[in-house]
């Protein structure tokens, strides 16, 4: 087994064995989906129809992936575990892939849990469900990148604040999941569409509705954000790795 896979396997175990985080990360979006669907059943609101709601909750759930990634790296740094590994022959690409690879199936798993819950709540099983998973993948990479970046820059308490509180709120309020940001209008709408969260949700909604033309340009913007954040995370991690060597 290559060094990258050995390290990735360790990271996979570390995250999955933190049961409180895991239950919260997967359980909370599912509870929200059930709750908002119950509200929709009593007081019909277009925004809370299952086809509209599911991509929003899936994107919101991905913010917990950032928290998992950020906490893991920040804790490794604070406990000298990374110091031990930095004296090993591992290269920077071994580290970055080792942290990223196990998070991708977790993110897909989290999207799947949301979609399966939605199917139980009445979402039709069509090929569009699979397309939605593919369309949400860049958003998953974006949130993984945010976690890597925060974990490389901040300590574990700060990661808890930034990824656990700030990011989850940003991805909730500015995603258009709970309310239509166009109804607020003005700078709020401009800000929401300048950031990738509402774009991810819009692309997911279009994919789930089978309106593939409407996926763009939202998806391009999410992909661009994901690329920039991942590159920034790699640069910052490498700088951290070599930080004392300058």
């Amino acid at each position: 087994m290559s060094a990258t896979l050995v390290f990735a396997s360790r990271n996979h175990k570390e995250i999955l064995r933190d049961r409180l985080n895991l239950m919260f990360g997967i359980g909370f979006p599912v509870v929200l989906l059930l709750l908002l669907s119950a509200i929709q059943a009593n007081i019909p609101v277009t925004m809370f129809e299952i086809g509209q709601l599911t991509p929003g909750i899936a994107v919101f759930g991905l913010s917990f992936i950032s928290l998992f990634a950020g906490l893991l790296i920040a804790k490794d740094r604070s406990t000298s575990f990374l110091l031990r590994l930095f004296s090993s022959p591992l290269t920077s690409s071994n580290y970055i892939l080792g942290y990223t690879v196990p998070l991708i199936p977790m993110a897909i798993g989290q999207i799947l849990v949301c979609l399966i819950t939605a199917v139980c709540l009445g979402l039709d099983i069509t090929v569009h469900v699979l397309t939605t998973i593919l369309v949400l993948l860049p958003a998953a990479l974006l949130f993984i990148g945010i976690g890597l970046l925060c974990g490389s820059l901040l300590n574990d308490k700060q990661v808890g604040g930034v990824c656990g509180a700030l990011l989850t709120n940003l991805s909730a309020w500015l995603s258009g999941t709970w309310f239509d940001v166009r109804l607020v209008g003005g700078w709020f709408e401009k800000l929401a569409y300048a950031l990738p969260f509402a774009r991810s949700v819009e692309a997911g909604r279009a994919a789930l509705a089978g309106d593939y033309a409407a996926i763009f340009p939202h998806l391009w913007i999410v992909i661009a954000y994901a690329a920039v954040v991942l590159i920034a995370a790699i640069l910052v991690f490498r700088r951290r790795m070599n930080g004392d060597k300058t």
Binding site: A3, E14, T79, S88, K245
Partner: protein
Amino acid sequence: MTAPIAVRTNRLTKTYGTKTAVDDLNLTIFDGELFALLGVNGAGKTTTIKMLSCLVAPTSGDATLLGDSIVSNPQAVKAKINVSPQETAVARNLSVRENLELIAGIYGFDRKTSREKANDMIAVFSLEEVADAKAHTLSGGMQRRLSIGMALITDPRILFLDEPTLGLDVLARRELWSVIDRLKGKITIILTTHYMEEAVALSDRIGIMARGRLKAAGTADELMRLAGTDSFEDAFVALATDQEVISR
């Protein structure tokens, strides 16, 4: 016959801004030797270890470890060494066995060999009863033993132990001393400590550092003779504070 040289530093220096952490260090350590770097907090011991283990680049000077330079060929150096950092560095949610197999795998051993080597380390460090327990559930002494086991599992030719008994109680410290003592002569060990009795009990030779400089190096008896004292503690105080004599 003199043993081959494992570590040779040549005017090794590290500065952080205006502060000089290690100043013009010239040191030779022989293959199979247990060499202790002794000094008070801030003497430059940990920075020296970090430079020799390629975690920190020197500001000037160089060191060769078994013939490879830490400046021009750090990857070759990294393949021959291992480090047990000052703070216990284990993967908290992995078991003792998984931690050991993780490090073996990272250094390129296949799954079967990693498992065999993990079993060997578990036996050497008497960790059988906790082999499948998560690392965060272990006592401080056991975590430290695991940490050193993780450094040894890769068969390093040079092992760095940075303050290996810091924060341990007397019994745990004595247990760890006995483990380190059993390693003597098999590999080169460079140990930092600020416990004088530890340096005397374990090492073949001792280097005394103060304010980033190597003040003296030799056996405990040689250092006492050099300082003209009857106790090693008095010799340490005399050499660390006043004299500039270096014996190699």
